[in-house]
């Protein structure tokens, strides 16, 4: 093994620093270019096969939050977000009640008691080619 001269050692160290700096700078650049901002809030929800929801059923989907209704007219959905300030309403005898400020809605989502002054929002439900229900919030 040949002895490394002082000059060669310094040259090697310098080159090492340079390559390392370059590699880290490139890494930083890639990381910057690769940055993914937070995804937009989800607006489409796959609720699975339509046969999971028999006629007459009313199924709460808490993660949206929404209520999927399968009536004689077909599938429909109600947003369970209170139209007053946005709290999640809860099922109550004959309808829905907001736990924050006491608004009440009937089973169809119509306001029966303020402070909310608008009905619960209707959400679109479509059936995909694979017979899955897709809820559009």
């Amino acid at each position: 093994m040949t002895d490394l001269s002082r000059r060669d050692f310094l040259k090697l160290a310098r080159d090492g620093f340079l390559y390392l700096s370059g590699a880290l700078a490139l890494g930083g650049l890639f990381r910057f270019l690769d940055y993914e901002s937070n995804p937009a809030p989800q607006t489409e929800f796959d609720l699975g096969p339509a046969e999971k929801y028999p006629p007459g059923s009313r199924t709460s989907i808490p993660e949206i939050p929404a209520l999927l209704i399968h009536s004689e007219q077909g599938f429909s959905a109600l947003s369970l977000v209170c139209t007053h300030l946005g709290c999640s309403v809860e099922s109550d005898a004959g309808g829905f009640a907001c736990p924050c400020h006491g608004s009440r809605f009937d089973a169809e989502g119509e306001v029966t008691h303020g402070p909310a002054d608008k009905s619960l929002r209707s959400l679109r439900v479509v059936i995909t080619a694979e017979s899955h229900l897709l809820l559009l919030a």
Binding site: L24, L85, G86, C87, C100, G114
Partner: protein, 439 residues
């Protein structure tokens, strides 16, 4: 140049190392997108341990920024807090409209009785108009006791009291030294004043002066009635179950010395403690020179005094005495009259809204509650069903549930008793003559 390259490279590496080290120490950002705003905020990165402020203001719906302000995306504490409204108290009246207002919140319509901020801004709690008028009258600066000034200028276009506006009280325009002393010493006590120095006064202005009690109500589910300050934490609560200790923090804290025009704080004022035995309440909290009946020191102030008395009714008044109207007879009636009552038939009755916010009892349609002479509901007092009434010989019985304690009481009206009251002597001083407690 060629020689500087390794040095630049070394500096670059050190900078990267420093950046990595700082990044590794920073907390992992916690994002919240409140339903109300739909805008991400990162306050929970540091404040995830704060309890919900109230059932009506869940953080999932409101987030933090809609009430507190601040830089919602900042992860540096100083930057995040740099634009907060009102510091620790976003309900300070100087910023309350931005923090608590809005048509859907506390600047709602008068018809719905949701104009809380407007009512508070015109209330004597906020204007301090009575004290200012009284002092100016006493020292000859005005010829009668009608209020002309408030701590801030305020107008009431639909005045029912004849006072349509108050000008901002300007101490520098007063020539009498006693009025100037009053200005220097006594204007910090009202909820529209600049808060006094010190943590203990941090939330004694604005809505928080009443609704953020230093001692939690006994029926609070959070800490079992223990002051969070005693636990070394802050106070993050909004409640309508306001314990008497909160009222007494201002209303029993000392006396005015008119000779020196100063406020002398009581030396024996009880500190906030972990345990507060009710038997010591009379001695600790009530001034020796005054008299009190059993209910005046057993109940909480909010059990009898109404919203309009405390928060104002939207009109400007010249003194506290003009707006405070609840008397013993409001609940107990007189020898010839039972207390006024109302049977709840409308699900939109405001009594239900109040009971919803402080559910110490389950109010139902058909319940009969006591109402004041102005029609305000004392929704926590119900007439118990019994065969009482004229001709039955049975006296009515009312039940009362303490708003801050959930304690259960029953009482009967004065009618049918041997009480020696005179019909025109209904102020508490006359009741104290027989019913004041010994201490």
């Amino acid at each position: 140049m060629r020689r500087l390259l390794p040095l630049a490279s070394l500096l670059f590496l050190l900078t990267l190392l420093l950046a990595w080290w700082m990044n590794s120490r920073a907390p992992k950002p916690v994002e919240l997108i409140p339903t109300l705003t739909g805008q991400p905020e990162y306050c929970l990165t540091c404040h995830a341990d704060l309890p919900e402020i109230s059932a009506s203001h869940p953080v999932k719906t409101f987030g933090c920024v809609s009430c507190h302000g601040g830089e919602r995306l900042a992860l540096d504490a100083d930057l995040a807090h740099s634009t907060m409204r009102g510091g620790a108290n976003p309900s300070d009246l100087s910023v309350v409209e931005a923090s608590c207002g809005g048509g859907n919140c506390h600047s709602g319509s008068e018809a719905d009785d949701r104009h809380h901020i407007q009512r508070v801004l015109t209330s004597v709690q906020s204007t301090y108009a009575g004290a200012i008028a009284s002092i100016r009258f006493t020292f000859g600066a005005q010829t009668d006791l009608t209020a002309r000034f408030g701590i801030s200028a305020v107008t009431d276009e639909h005045s029912q009291t004849g006072i349509t506006s108050l000008a901002a009280f300007d101490p520098t325009s007063e020539s009498n030294p006693s009025i100037q002393k009053f200005s220097g010493n006594c204007l910090t006590c009202h909820i529209n004043a600049a808060p006094r120095e010190g943590d203990v006064y941090a939330r004694q202005t604005g809505c928080a002066a009443c609704h953020t009690p230093l001692r939690l109500p006994q029926n609070s589910q959070n800490l079992g009635g223990v002051s969070r300050r005693d636990e070394g934490g802050g106070v993050h609560i909004l409640t309508t179950a306001i314990p008497y200790t909160q009222c007494n923090a201002c209303h029993n804290r000392g006396n005015y010395d008119l000779r020196t025009m100063t406020f002398i704080e009581r030396s024996d004022y009880p500190t906030i403690r972990l345990s507060d035995h009710p038997t010591t309440r009379l001695q600790d909290y009530y001034q020796p020179i005054s008299q009190f009946t059993l209910c005046e020191y057993t109940l909480d102030c909010v059990d009898c005094h109404t919203r309009s008395e405390v928060m104002g009714d939207g009109d400007l008044y010249s003194s506290q005495a003009e707006i405070q109207y609840v008397q013993c007879k409001t609940c107990h009636g007189t020898l010839t009259e039972l207390p006024l009552t109302k049977t709840l038939t409308d699900p939109n009755d405001i009594a239900f809204r109040m009971a919803f916010l402080n559910p110490v009892l389950e109010l139902k349609l058909g319940d009969t509650i006591i109402v004041t002479e102005k029609g305000e509901p004392l929704w926590n007092i119900r007439l118990l069903p019994s065969p009482s009434g004229e001709g039955t010989g049975v006296r009515a019985v009312y039940e009362m549930i303490g708003k801050a304690t959930s304690q259960y009481f029953t009482f009967r009206p004065v009618m049918g008793t041997a009480c020696e009251q005179k019909p025109d002597e209904q102020e508490s001083q006359y009741c104290h003559a027989c019913h004041a407690v010994e201490r």
